[in-house]
């Protein structure tokens, strides 16, 4: 296409950027997308996408540590945050070895993927909605802040997000605390039937479902429910929607029904590969058949003739007009190869600009440009789910390491009066044994071999232990704290002279109290199931080891990077308004998890995708004026 002035310029090809690009191009608008990652990764044709993806898989197979970013290229000129760089911080000395400059006091524990498709390339795929009270924490519990949107405002957009991602799940099993009867619309179903719950889920469920646990003088009855997720399964014949279209006369995005049964969207290279989850169990970091959704599937649905994508283009500065405050262009550095630091520069121009480069990159670009920050909130309120793990050995074999990472969760502590006192959490039952906390099964093999076992005895030992590994995890909602923030510092630049994010980060008592509470609950679940607890939090080596009431806990990152340019009620308390437009620049939209004022207890991708459809609708309305 190549025009001088596009309707919209988008920075980033992750799910937020892809949803905007798809929705706008399908509505007839012209879009230019800047993507910092490599050209090969953006291939949407069968041959190109197959080659690139096989390369990712091969890299993953060969990687010594199978961390979320392990299959994907780490680019000198557009580095990704990597969990392997997280280290325990010494008092006052920032950790600078990775892409992030970590000033602490605690290191920020999550990563994301900077490249085509963004972090959906290695997301787990859990697609839970937030709960109505999550949007009004201040009003209901006098904690955190309220959103300028309610659950009901977002509900139609949740349905769009569930179609876009292709959610598999059973609506009738989605019973969360304190939700109204019409939480899902009447007769609403997800596009696909639920992913089968694991054997482990069923075994643990026997003693955990309806288990009464006591916590802080209150009693709770636990439930175990199936987890909706963005991976392909059997199409639900009762699902009626087929597409999301812009209705120009009503000025609305709407779901259109279709007669045929929903058709699961397979891999990029072959429509018949990946039409069902095959249980490969490597979802994080990579689904080998692309049965798990990734944003490139959305990008492929865009009207390609209306879309130009420039890859290896790192946006670094937003230009504005001094008088009107309108954005006039986004400057980018175009690096030549992933090995050199040579680059040329360019300016992308459009009527409207959308930053969709991830919470941390969005904040960094805004700070570097001194744009959209009259509230001084840019970069602040950085949040994540704080993951406290507990693990033990069951009496009978439960056969972990099969299926997606998690297929069942305990939603009991997602909402309740206790939120006045401590943070809420969700507890997914994990299907991948002790791999996360202690690198099983590799570490088990190593230990057994060094104790002299080999051959048949070694196999027997593994068969005895690894099959009984149970892991439970508690994803604790982190509150927004203006002190937890991304800043920039000319001392810390990357290979092509762009700022590296400098992170200041800590965790307050409201969350620490939730760690204490979740360990109390964990103990009761373990006791009821006869699980021998092997949980160990190492004060010397765990980077995020914290102490509360003389008891130590370790938390890990959930990869849910949220809150750096939050939406709010006024231009003084927030970066964007409820339409996700900058309060200060009327042709600048920010999208992605950075807009979320609070985190709730659901993995943020679904909510962020719903928000992004709302942003797309607002952009289309503005373009129509």
């Amino acid at each position: 296409m190549k025009v001088d002035n596009y309707d919209v310029v988008i920075v980033g090809s992750g799910i937020a950027g892809a949803v905007i690009a798809k929705t706008l191009t399908q509505a007839g608008k012209t879009v230019l997308m800047l993507e910092a990652g490599l050209q090969a990764g953006i291939a949407l044709d069968a041959e190109g996408s197959y080659k690139t993806y096989q390369k990712y898989i091969e890299t993953f197979y060969n990687a010594p540590a199978k961390v979320p970013n392990s299959p994907y290229p780490d680019l000198k000129d557009a580095p990704s945050i990597d969990v392997l760089d997280i280290e325990k911080l010494q008092n006052g000395i920032p950790s600078t070895d990775g892409y992030l400059v970590q000033k602490g006091p605690l290191p920020f524990a999550s990563d994301c993927m900077r490249g085509p498709g963004g972090t959906t390339m290695h997301w787990l795929g859990t697609t839970l909605r937030m709960l109505p009270n999550d949007f009004k924490m201040k009003t209901v519990y006098n904690q955190n802040v309220d959103w300028p949107l309610t659950y009901d405002d977002l509900k139609p957009f949740y349905e769009m997000a569930e179609l876009e991602i292709g959610v598999a799940g059973n609506v009738s099993e989605q019973k969360y605390p304190d939700i109204p009867a019409d939480f899902f619309g009447k007769d609403y179903v997800f596009p696909m039937e639920k992913i089968p719950q694991s054997y482990l889920d069923k075994e643990i469920g026997k003693k955990t479902e309806k288990l009464k646990v006591s916590l802080n003088r209150r009693e709770y009855e636990l439930t175990c429910i199936s987890t909706p997720q963005g991976r392909n399964s059997v199409p639900n014949e009762a699902y009626k929607y087929g597409s999301i279209v812009w209705n120009a006369s009503k000025k609305k995005l709407q779901l259109e029904t279709q007669d045929q049964t929903y058709n699961p969207d397979g891999s990029l290279w072959d429509p018949y590969t990946g039409q069902r989850c095959e249980g490969n169990a490597s979802c994080v970091p990579i689904c080998p058949v692309q049965a798990k959704y990734n944003a490139l599937k959305t990008l492929r649905r865009a009207k390609q003739e209306n879309l130009d994508i420039i890859t290896q283009a790192v946006a670094y500065k937003i230009n504005t007009d001094d008088h009107t405050n309108e954005v006039t262009g986004i400057e980018y550095k175009l690096y030549k190869t992933d090995r050199s630091s040579e680059y040329t520069t360019g300016i992308a121009k459009g009527k409207i600009y959308v930053l969709a480069a991830s919470a941390i990159e969005n904040a960094k670009i805004l700070l570097a440009s001194n744009v959209a920050n009259r509230s001084d909130q840019v970069g602040r309120n950085l949040m994540d789910h704080l993951v406290m793990l507990t693990w033990g050995l069951t009496k009978d074999k439960i056969y972990p390491y099969r299926g997606p990472g998690s297929t069942t969760n305990i939603p009991t502590f997602r909402d309740g009066e206790f939120r006045k006192e401590h943070a809420a959490w969700i507890s997914p039952l994990d299907n991948w044994g002790w791999s996360w906390p202690v690198f099983s099964p590799g570490s088990d093999v190593g230990k057994a071999v060094s104790s002299g076992l080999f051959g048949k005895k070694l196999r027997e030992k593994m068969n005895e232990d690894v099959t009984r590994q149970f892991l439970l995890h508690f994803e604790v909602e982190q509150s927004p704290d203006p002190g937890n923030r991304v800043t920039i510092d000319p001392q810390y630049l990357d290979a092509i002279g762009n700022y590296r994010p400098v992170i200041t980060y800590n965790v307050g008592d409201y969350m620490l109290k939730a760690f204490e509470a979740s360990k109390i609950v964990s103990d009761q679940i373990f006791a009821a199931n006869g699980i021998k607890d092997f949980t160990y939090y190492n004060p010397k080596t765990d980077p995020d080891y914290v102490v509360y009431k003389e008891q130590g806990y370790t938390f890990r990152g959930a990869g849910h990077i949220v809150g750096t340019h939050r939406m709010g009620f006024t231009e003084d308390d927030s970066v964007v308004d409820k339409n996700q437009r900058s309060w200060n620049h009327q042709n600048l939209y920010l999208v992605g998890c950075g807009n979320m004022p609070t985190l709730g207890t659901s993995n943020p991708t679904l909510t962020m995708t719903a928000l992004t459809f709302q942003a797309a609708e607002n952009i289309l309305k503005q373009l129509q004026k």
């Binding site: 069968a46 197959y50 091969e58 072959d270 018949y272 590969t273 039409q275 069902r276």
Partner: protein
């Protein structure tokens, strides 16, 4: 009037049934069958029993290409020949789809597909089931020679003979005969041959059970469904013959789903088809990197008894055969009233690959490696 080579249920797919010249409305099989009937070409099938028998042959015919295609596919060394691998895989999964489609039609008229019968797996070297034995198919590694045989399977020499389902010369001829028979027997049976009994209808494999392979499964409840199912089979590449070479229709280019013949020909010619190519001229598009040497040097058409002197190899080859037998038995049960079982076959399919590749890594004789023998083995 020119025959259309776009399929009615998928205009993006090459339509490859032999077109009857000047039929005028042969843009769908329905049109073609109507034409054949108009020409008073006699149906080679007259009774319901003959029709069931021909459909059983169709199931066997579709299956018979799978072992040779799988040998070629598995013999390609991992990480090499991406495009050739993708092409062969795409054809294999379509053959699986066709096999299930044929079984669906057979079930719809009250038949029982017999996938567990003794000689369901043909002997290799051998010919297409019930054919005129005009050429020989081996179990062999990926090579120019094996791809040439595949081309022959997918596009045999033309024939002037009428449609027939026994001793047929081409697959196209077989399916024309089958179509005529389906229409004939249905027309000559009071109330038609498609059963409405819910117990019979429950035997259909539906998209819920079948996925990830080569297209959309068509559950068959009516003559229209059966026509669509056959159109799906024929449309993907069975029965092509030289008449297509005279077509001046646009057959290649982006978004068009090529027939098996052309997909295999791309591999043999090491070149993609592009927009203005013709069947006669062959592919002139982008070069495909084919490494004919990055292949496990599998011995041709091995038999389990060849391995008798090699106990470990013998066990591994039997283990492969047992897995393949289990898979066929699983598909048999799925097509015999338990469609939900089909899903359980997935794990077996993965095992099959691992076991085949393991065999192909074991040196056998004269510089050749071992390979799977595809013989029935119920332990």
């Amino acid at each position: 009037m020119k025959a259309s080579f776009g399929q009615s249920n998928n205009p993006k797919r090459q339509k490859l049934i032999k077109m009857v010249p000047a039929s005028g409305k042969a843009d769908s099989l329905l049109g073609e069958v109507a034409f054949l009937k108009l020409q008073a070409i006699e149906s080679p099938i007259k009774t319901l029993e003959e029709l069931k028998s021909a459909l059983q042959t169709a199931v066997e015919l579709e299956h018979s290409t799978i072992p040779p295609y799988l040998c070629a596919l598995y013999s390609i060394k991992d990480g090499t020949n991406d495009i050739a691998t993708g092409i062969i895989r795409s054809v294999v999964v379509e053959e699986m789809l066709h096999m299930i489609l044929a079984a669906n039609i057979l079930n719809a008229i009250g038949g029982t597909p017999k996938i567990d019968k003794e000689h369901f797996i043909p002997a290799y070297p051998g010919s297409l089931p019930d054919s005129d034995n005009s050429f020989i198919i081996n179990l062999e590694k990926f090579s120019k020679e094996s791809i040439e045989v595949f081309l022959r399977i997918e596009k045999p020499e033309p024939t002037r003979e009428h449609p027939k389902v026994k001793d047929y010369h081409t697959i196209g001829q077989f399916y024309q005969g089958l179509m005529l028979g389906l229409e004939y027997v249905n027309d000559h049976t009071a109330g038609g041959i498609f059963l409405t009994d819910p117990e019979v209808q429950k035997r259909q494999i539906t998209p819920e059970h079948y996925y990830g392979s080569g297209g959309v499964i068509v559950p068959v409840y009516t003559i229209d469904d059966a026509r669509l199912a056959i159109e799906e089979i024929v449309g993907q590449g069975e029965g092509i013959d030289d008449t297509i070479e005279d077509s001046d229709q646009k057959l290649f280019g982006q978004g068009i789903e090529y027939a098996h013949y052309f997909r295999f020909n791309e591999v043999l010619q090491e070149r993609m088809y592009c927009e203005n190519d013709t069947p006669k001229g062959g592919p002139t598009g982008e070069k495909i990197a084919v490494d004919w040497n990055a292949v496990h040097n599998m011995v041709t058409s091995p038999k389990i008894k060849d391995y008798e002197g090699y106990p470990e190899l013998y066990e591994k080859a039997r283990s492969f055969n047992q897995t393949y037998t289990q898979l066929l038995d699983n598909i048999h049960c799925a097509c015999d009233g338990k469609p939900e079982l089909l899903m359980k076959g997935i794990g077996l399919m993965y095992q099959l690959k691992y076991k085949a590749v393991e065999l192909m890594n074991i040196p056998f004789q004269d510089g050749y490696m071992a390979g799977p023998t595809f013989e029935l083995d119920r332990g």
